[in-house]
Amino acid sequence: MGNLVQAELRKTTTTGLWWGLLIPTAVLALGWGLATGLLGQFFVDFAASGDVDEVSDFLGVTPDQWKVSLFGMARAINISTIFPMIFGAMAISGELSRRTITTTFLTAPSRVHALLAKMLVYVLWGAIYGLVIMLFLGIGVVATSDSGQLPDAGGWVMLTLVCVLSSILMTMFGVGVGALIPNVAGAIVLLLLYFLVIENVLHGVLAYLEVPAVIGFLPNGSINGLTGSVSVDLFLSSAGVVPTEIEDVLRAIAGAAGAQDWWLSGIVFLGWAGVVFAGGWAVTQSKDIT
């Protein structure tokens, strides 16, 4: 198994795809970070200057201590992890369409071995992408935010953890979809459509039907919940007593409307990734490679 893992790792490092996707990922994370700080600053200035006292009373702290950067960071992670997901999606679909899968299967004890080795290597890549996202996001946010809006040390650690976790899970989900749909363009288009359009429409419909809790169990809803719930929790931990209605609004701002607790969200999404990978594995296992 160690041999196969090394082979899969070499496959990823001997072509330029890993950095070709990592660069836009870093740029996107940095851009979101900068925008988060600027928007947060604007919002806090507005709140402090006006008659938004009611909100400030609810939250129990003055606006300049609101850790608004947390919301932007949650959203930034959700968007940026699309890239590692695409990277994962090309793992198996790329080998199938380039027919390199023939040699891969000829040199592995079994197809299960080959797929598991691949999954392990992409988990590692998911973690690397996650760390890079957090690094550039952090640089962007710190450069444009007042210290009052930034999380404390524990908050940074927690955010880094969920960012890496989220990136790993998204990569795994991508690997599964790429095994299920043996066509690179098809797999990527489907993933983008689903994560950027289809599920957002679905969220709107579910909210309209007044069953927002369902959202937290959908793929995008649960992965957003992983980061969104952590950022809302961190925000609230530094605020006073907050009424439920306001909390719901905050969740929506963090992109985690209807989401479960962060750890439950993570488990739900892991379940989705597992289902998709099992499907892709079943398809690949019985496929005739001609």
Partner: protein, 319 residues
């Protein structure tokens, strides 16, 4: 894991792709120490058979084993069997050396082995170039290098001469023969008997997914018949005399000659002399292997000669 015999055994192998019967009830064995040719026209089912042997295609029925085991039970298959398959993929952006290193680690052999096989197939000078820029023959050489990475006991090659230059073909020929002489097993497919005639010891000839001939090439050579083509003064008299002498295979050719099988020209001439028939011309004809191959495989997708006038064309298309 496996018995190490180097034996390839294909038994009652069948593959159905939807309505297409690609391989039907195919059986043969390939022993170590010899090069076996796997021959058949386009679409005969060669590639499908080899892919079933290598665990890439699931048989509809029957078994294909290497060392007495199906492919997925070989344990470390890269060290047991090396394969060159048609339309085998390479990542266009990966260099030849990196390609080999990827699979060297999968098989579990040191990187030095990658450099060694790349030298063996004559690609050293192109080792660090991206495979996307390789010619067909260079890709074929790289595929062969990949097959040799694990120093396997069994080599399975699907049309390996495809795209090779004459020098490459000559090299491949001697290489495969010496590989077999070391007691290893070599199975090589082709749709041209002439292409492998000088390389192989055994042949398996298939057509439409079925075995047509299976045995030593020497036996195929011996089974080929000689014919005597003779131009007599009296066809009937000679035919009657030959029949009286126990020769039955007599055929009237369109050009007016008689074709007599199973005898030599001397016997025909002697018989004619006794019967008082003059001979204006006599010729011995050797049916060559290639024609025998044609007869055995009579092309399922044989093309038709182009019709001189398209409006007079009869049933065109595929046979």
């Amino acid at each position: 894991m496996h018995d190490g015999s180097g034996l390839i055994a294909v038994q009652n192998l069948t593959k159905q792709f939807g309505p297409v019967a690609a391989v039907q009830n195919l059986s043969f064995t390939v022993s170590p120490g010899s090069v076996t040719g796997f021959l058949g026209p386009n679409g005969a089912g060669k590639t499908t058979t080899l892919r079933m042997l290598l665990g890439l295609v699931k048989p509809t029925a029957g078994t294909a084993t290497i060392n007495g085991r199906p492919f997925h039970q070989l344990g470390q298959p890269g060290r047991v069997v090396g394969a060159v398959l048609e339309a085998q993929g390479f990542h266009p952006a990966r260099s030849a050396r990196n390609h080999l290193r990827v699979y060297a680690s999968a098989i579990g052999v040191p990187d030095a082995q990658a450099d060694q096989v790349i030298g063996l197939v004559g690609l050293s000078s192109a080792a660090d170039r991206k495979v996307g820029g390789f010619s067909l023959g260079m890709k074929q050489r790289l595929a062969l290098a990949t097959a040799l990475l694990g120093d396997p006991q069994v080599l399975v090659l699907d049309e390996p001469a495809n795209g090779l230059d004459p020098e490459g073909i000559a090299w491949l020929r001697t290489f495969l023969q010496s590989y077999a002489r070391m007691g290893r097993t070599v199975l090589i497919s082709s749709h041209l008997l002439a292409e492998v005639e000088q390389t192989v010891d055994q042949v398996v000839i298939i057509s439409r997914g079925q075995t047509m001939f299976y045995g030593p090439l020497e036996q195929l050579r011996q089974s080929q018949q000689k014919r005597v083509l003779v131009q007599p003064s009296d066809h009937n008299a000679l035919a009657t005399a030959l029949r009286a002498a126990g020769v039955q295979a007599i055929e009237q050719l369109p050009d007016g000659r008689l074709a007599v099988s199973g005898v030599d020209s001397r016997q025909v001439a002697d018989t004619a002399l006794q019967a008082g028939v003059s001979i204006y011309g006599i010729q011995e004809e050797q049916v060559d292997l290639e024609r025998l191959f044609f007869q055995l495989t009579s092309g399922q997708y044989a093309g038709h000669a182009p019709a001189p006038n398209p409006y007079q064309q009869q049933q065109g298309g595929w046979a």
